[in-house]
Assembly symmetry: C2
């Protein structure tokens, strides 16, 4: 069996471009003892991958040049020499941007596709949803009746987090870029939406949407959003810093206006986090999410691009905001 896969050609500075990636065709070996061959149905492209393309070690190491890029993928077992999986079963892996692969069966997570479509395990019921849940529940510690600002509200984590925060009884204001995305954010339950592309003064716009201030800010963007959050947070406000996508492609650090003294003046707490440090919450997450889904409180949202050859394009689209909800590549 043949499989096409995506390789990184060199570490990046600045915006990712098509020439940074190669599509390479490889042979998929037949499974040996204990192995299975899987044909992927969906792969996940995520903003955090930009960090791994820089060659710098942060919370995960860099991608290897000239090898397939790792990342979440769901697929169907097509051949098995492993007792725990049979053809037709669906599995979740981190084997990344490729059409098919052969791997030991005991390293794969079997998923139940009777209640949810397979790609939900890359989105609302996967690391994306879990990231929103950890940020809101543990890092912020959001309480019923509080007001939270979700940035990048039309994105994968943002659209999940808006719905989770509403399900927890909070008041949610969200930012998104452009009319279409703002309409989407409204449709999934945000109490107020600010189109940051239409506002020259983001602080004033957030203050208008939340006249009493915000208790918490879920950070996916950075830059001017972060500055506006410090301006509008109440005393003892909390920030869950999940990502700062506005900065990931900057070859040089930018200068921003320094209002950091609000950290002292308002006794703010700002905490960066990575979902993989909080897997102890997985059981709680699945249980609470199942309840919300059964009650009809959650609408999974996704943008689907077709074909492995378009995976780099889908990834680059994350930075120009081409997705509403989770960005997926369908194989």
């Amino acid at each position: 069996m043949k499989s096409r896969e995506v390789h990184l050609n060199a570490y990046l500075k600045g915006d990712p471009r098509p020439e940074n990636y190669s599509i390479v065709e490889t042979d998929v070996p037949a499974p040996g003892k204990g192995e299975v061959t899987v044909r992927n149905h969906y792969i996940s492209v995520d903003p955090y991958m930009r960090g791994r393309m820089s060659g710098i070690r942060t919370y995960v190491g860099p991608f290897e040049i000239g090898k397939v890029m790792e990342g979440g993928a769901v697929g169907e077992v097509v051949e098995s020499q492993y007792d725990g999986l049979k053809p037709g079963d669906f599995v979740n892996s981190m084997f990344g941007w490729r059409e098919a692969y052969t791997a030991p069966g005991d390293g794969l997570q079997k998923i139940d596709v009777s209640q949810l479509p397979p790609q939900a395990y890359l989105g609302i019921a996967g690391l994306t949803g879990m990231t929103a849940y950890v940020g809101i529940k543990r890092i912020i510690g959001l309480k019923e009746g509080e007001t939270m600002w979700m940035s990048a509200g039309a994105g994968a984590v943002g659209s999940a987090g808006i719905q989770f925060a509403k399900a927890m009884g909070a008041n949610v204001i969200a930012t998104a870029g452009g009319r279409e995305k703002c309409d989407f954010v409204k449709s999934i339950g945000a109490d107020a939406v600010v189109d940051y592309k239409a506002e020259s003064d983001l602080t004033a716009a957030i203050q208008a949407a939340a006249p009493k201030g915000i208790d918490a800010y879920f950070e996916n963007v950075g830059g001017t959003h972060f500055t506006a959050a410090l301006n509008t947070l109440k005393q003892y406000g909390r920030i869950a810093a999940c990502g700062m996508i506005q900065r990931y492609n900057d070859a040089q650090p930018a200068a921003i206006t320094d209002n950091l003294t609000f950290i002292v003046g308002k006794s703010l707490r700002i905490q960066g986090f990575i979902v993989t440090d909080h897997f102890d919450m997985m059981g709680d997450f699945i249980k609470e999410l199942s309840g919300w889904m059964a009650a009809g409180k959650i609408t999974p949202a996704e943008t689907v691009i077709e074909g492995i050859e378009n995976a780099p394009d889908a990834f680059m689209g994350l930075f120009s905001g081409r997705n509403t909800g989770k960005m997926l590549v369908k194989i």
Copy 2:
């Protein structure tokens, strides 16, 4: 009895200047029933007071224009109509920048001057020391063997914090401005000292002093110090944000280099705090401090300016770094 006191003439923008303050002579009434008259021996001038001179409400309200400025002071009871205090007793009050006052006795804290000099209650054994303790013990949660960077190491909170962190078994690097202050910081136990005025690249200097990185940063300065801290903190690093004195006198926010993405990439926790929210730790603090002092681990450090008429000058000196240790005005 007459008392001279210091009034604020108008709310400030930018650097405090002598013309912002007036020295006013008033009559101190004889004590009524339940009251005492106190002659102050020392008053405290502190960086946080700059915020109260701006007319903006942060964690404490602004000073009142044309009234005596509030603040910590220790003095001796000279006349008493209150059963709990007699002439010769020493008390701690927040009645501020004046030579003497009459007030209800039950609002004053009697202090024990048999073991410590009265002014220690404005410094190492008072809110200053407590601030350092809360920041290190609760906000950072410093552990034995970890490396902490104390900024403004020659200052009141800094010099207390260096000694507390050493007593807790940590490795401490400190920054201070100029040879004399750096020598002082070394003399109270810092393992390494960086003269930030002599370094053009503070990040490189901190990296040289702590080649494996720092686990924690105690923030008193802001600006370039904060930037260098984000650069040098290890994964899961913590910042206790106590003050950002470099910024307090800025009439306009400054632009700084944005390396805030490290908050995400290194899962950092940054927390602003004000000591008055943590008075539940007072008992632990006094107990632990007494043990350290009995073991000879602590050297209280202070800079003393004489005369109430020089209180504004002493206050302004905080921002040009004229103090080592706690800045006090002796009456």
